[in-house]
Subunit: 217 residues, 2 copies
């Protein structure tokens, strides 16, 4: 269990705060807007009204207790940068910041923070991938053009064998795992019969996955 501070309780900041609490940590939420603090005071470990661009006001918070500080101030780049600068001056070691533009990102990297986050861009890319491969529920890009993909078997492929689905790729694509309800299967044979709602994990290149797409539809 660790303690975190989240500055700026917009949708991104509060989603991160509530998930951290759900994961068993404690969170101090900071926002300059008292209405926002009132809204979340019951859900957070601690909720503080504070203008986080004011280094003296921030000094009151005990950052030494926090494993990391998340700056989730959105639209106001100036506030986000002033807050980040104040945290650096106070010696905070682990600062993650939400950036709104490329310029914002560049300035933050010059200030030296540990992670810069672009929620809209990251989800934009994921949505494009989901539109591109509708049969892929989720995926991990591994680099060098390799992807681990999570496929949910549809009714149309119920009782197809793994060999049937993989076709020419049987030898090259890696079948990592199959989850059926709570059961896990590894080292699947070519005649293994797939059932609808099975979750199949494969690892392959983009072109291999393209070949598979119609075979899973």
């Amino acid at each position: 269990m660790a303690h975190f501070t989240v500055i700026g309780l917009g949708r991104f900041g509060i989603a991160a705060s509530l998930e951290l609490i759900h994961l068993g940590h404690t969170v101090t939420g900071v926002d300059r807007d008292s209405k926002v603090i009132e809204k979340y005071v019951e859900d957070l470990t601690q909720a503080i009204i504070c203008d986080s661009t004011d280094e003296n006001a921030l000094r009151e918070l005990d950052f030494a207790q926090s494993e990391a500080v998340l700056v989730a101030i959105g639209e106001d780049m100036q506030s986000s940068l002033l807050c980040t600068l104040a945290l650096k001056n106070l010696g905070v070691g682990q600062i993650w910041v939400k950036a709104t533009t490329k310029a914002h990102h560049t300035i933050l990297s010059k200030l030296g923070v540990q992670r810069i986050i672009h929620p809209e861009e990251e989800i934009g890319v994921r949505v494009a991938q989901a539109l591109n491969y509708p049969m892929v529920n989720n995926y991990l890009p591994l680099g060098h053009g390799l992807y681990v993909v999570e496929i949910h078997i549809k009714q149309t492929r119920h009782d197809n064998s793994l060999g049937q689905i993989l076709g020419e790729l049987k030898a090259s694509i890696k079948t990592l795992l199959l989850k059926r309800d709570e059961q896990l299967f590894t080292e699947l044979a070519s005649d293994f019969l797939l059932k609808k709602q099975d979750i199949l994990l494969l690892c392959g290149t983009r072109s291999e996955l393209k070949y598979l797409a119609p075979r899973l539809a």
Copy 2:
């Protein structure tokens, strides 16, 4: 190769548009702001200035050509809903919409769209997970408390064997894959030596991953 229409070219909408083009598709971008259209006219297949709440204006666009329409209008919930309604009236079958609030989400599901996206919340949850498990680079939640995690081996674990790292979990946790540069290894033995920058994919429960965390630090 397919055609998509993206309405609203904010950060989310344009990120999705550019990724779709990068993936080999064509995209018609629509925005009511001529400055935005001017900015992206070179990057998109087609860029149209249009107030998408106006069904008559939308009718001019040939949606039959689009595999899906993404409504990426952000802050203005009214415009997002009116645009979605107009698309439904025009018979568009595959509508994905970015939602800003729970209320927005509820109204969209009543209208009946194929996917509702909450970028800030989704990334907020991911960031919390990343803060919680700093050694996990990326992950896939599989349901029933099972996760596939992508771990990047650090310098500190260079030449540790897989058996050493997994400890008591050797028998229960599933080792799916190891990627070393462009090479993939499956069915790893207990004495397999890990190298820094190896990418290791494991599947286990949250408590198993918690046990592993300090062993990978």
